[in-house]
């Protein structure tokens, strides 16, 4: 194959040499006899490429790029929206937390006040009961004391009467009572 090409090239050289002139030594680019052929095939090629590009390739790539732009834009918008929602959710959470905290504080304060009230009431009641009991006891003590004084008076009269009788004096009950009473005062 290689030698074959070599031969054809040599043959072409021979032909060129036979033609003679500048063409053999010169550039194939300036061989005007090939221009018609080159231009024809070039125009065919360009038309084919242009048709392929305008009918298939470029609209397709353009559509893909536009679709991607749209997707990215909408994704960004969605992300922005989600971010906004997240911020809102956080705010709501914080608000709920603060509300709950305030509510708890209120409940604690209420309970404390209620308990305080109950304690106060119980204390007051207990104080009243204690005061009543104390008064009652005082009354009882006073009564007992009065009773005791009376008994002492009676015993003193009886004792004085007995002592006088044993001494041989006869004393009336009236003067004894007066004497005892005045003694007991002193």
């Amino acid at each position: 194959m290689a030698s074959n090409t070599q031969q054809t090239t040599d043959a072409a050289h021979g032909a060129d040499a036979a033609h003679g002139g500048a063409e053999a030594a010169g550039m194939p680019q300036l061989d005007f006899s090939t221009f018609g052929n080159q231009i024809f095939w070039l125009v065919v090629t360009l038309v084919v490429i242009y048709l392929v590009l305008t009918k298939v390739a470029l609209p397709r790539i353009e559509a893909v790029l536009a679709e991607r732009r749209g997707t990215i834009t909408s994704d960004l918008a969605a992300a922005e929206e989600l971010k906004q929602k997240a911020v809102e959710a956080e705010e709501a959470y914080n608000k709920a937390l603060a509300d709950a905290r305030a509510e708890a504080n209120k409940i604690v304060a209420d309970a404390r006040a209620e308990i305080q009230g109950e304690v106060d009431a119980a204390a007051a009641k207990a104080d009243a009961e204690i005061a009543a009991k104390a008064a009652e006891s005082e009354a009882a003590i006073a009564e007992i004391r009065a009773g005791a004084v009376d008994s002492v008076k009676a015993v003193a009269k009886d004792t004085a009467k007995e002592i006088l009788a044993s001494l041989g004096y006869k004393a009336d009950a009236k003067s004894i009572t007066a004497a005892v009473t005045s003694r007991m005062k002193g």
Binding site: H13, Q29, L46, I49, V52, V56, A57, L58, V64
Partner: protein
């Protein structure tokens, strides 16, 4: 040999590779040196246009080696832009990314250079760019054919742009398109002189536009061919030109893209002049 270098240790693979390259160089010198004594370089042979299916007759419609590589350029474009984008995925595959990259690259170029109202001519510029870039890169395949190295091809491309832009300029602006040649910023006496210069430069446009591309392609390929001839002639020291070819090939890869880019961006500049001819 491999055992020895393995025993010595320290990068046996590099040593093996070195010996392999050395052997190849010696072998190539042994093979090629006797066959072609002296310099037998035909750097322009690669640009010859030959009928694809044999025969000597080259009619207007005869498929040639150039036709084959232009058809391969179409195949490449279809593979990249049509097959590559068939998934229509929101998250693109590798092929689709490249197709979108090419689309975005040219689209942005048209929009930035020629303006927003030039976007409707984007498919035409995309056609030019894709054809040139594929023809250039396919031409870099060894033993292939570079369609854009022919002045006939690039001249037609440049003339299509020139005629289209000129007609568009007059259709859009009427006689006002001639304002492109009338430099209103210059002092009045200078304007006719400048107008002549502007008109000449306007008509030189398609010439420079086409020769720049064809010349770059042709020169690079010819230089590589010349170095290849040296490599064959030098025998033992043939590896030196081969290294030069490798370096030059890297440059050619760059040039292949840059020339396609330059051709397209100049088209955009001309298009801008046609749409907004005022200075």
């Amino acid at each position: 040999m491999a055992d020895q270098s393995a025993k010595q240790g320290g990068g046996p693979i590099i040593k093996i590779a070195f010996f392999v390259v050395l052997a190849l160089v010696l072998l190539s010198g042994a093979i090629f040196a006797p066959e072609h004594p002296g310099l037998a370089i035909h750097p322009m042979d690669q640009f010859e246009i030959k009928p694809l299916f044999g025969g000597d007759h080259l009619g207007t419609f005869t498929p040639t080696n150039q036709t084959l590589w232009m058809v391969l350029a179409i195949v490449g474009i279809v593979l990249l832009l049509v097959v590559g984008s068939r998934g229509r995925a929101i998250v693109p595959t590798r092929g689709q990314s490249i197709a979108e990259l090419a689309y975005g690259f040219v689209y942005k170029m048209v929009e930035d250079v020629a303006g927003k109202d030039a976007v409707k001519y984007f498919p035409g510029i995309m056609t030019l760019f894709m054809f040139i870039v594929f023809a250039n890169f396919l031409g870099l395949i060894p033993t292939s054919f570079t369609a854009t190295s022919h002045i006939a091809v690039t001249a037609v491309l440049a003339l299509i742009v020139f005629v289209f832009v000129t007609v568009l300029g007059f259709v859009k602006n009427g006689v006002g398109f001639l304002g492109l040649f009338w430099v209103s910023a210059a002092p009045l006496p200078l304007r006719p002189v400048l107008a002549i210069i502007e008109i000449i430069s306007y008509f030189v446009r398609p010439v420079s536009h086409s020769i720049r591309l064809a010349g770059n392609m042709m020169a690079g390929h010819a230089v590589i061919k010349v170095f290849a001839g040296f490599a064959a002639a030098l025998g033992l020291f043939g590896f030196l030109p081969i290294l030069a070819i490798a370096a030059f090939y890297a440059l050619e890869v760059l040039v292949a893209f840059i020339q396609a880019y330059v051709f397209s961006i100049l088209t955009c500049v001309y298009l801008k002049d046609a749409l907004h001819p005022s200075h």
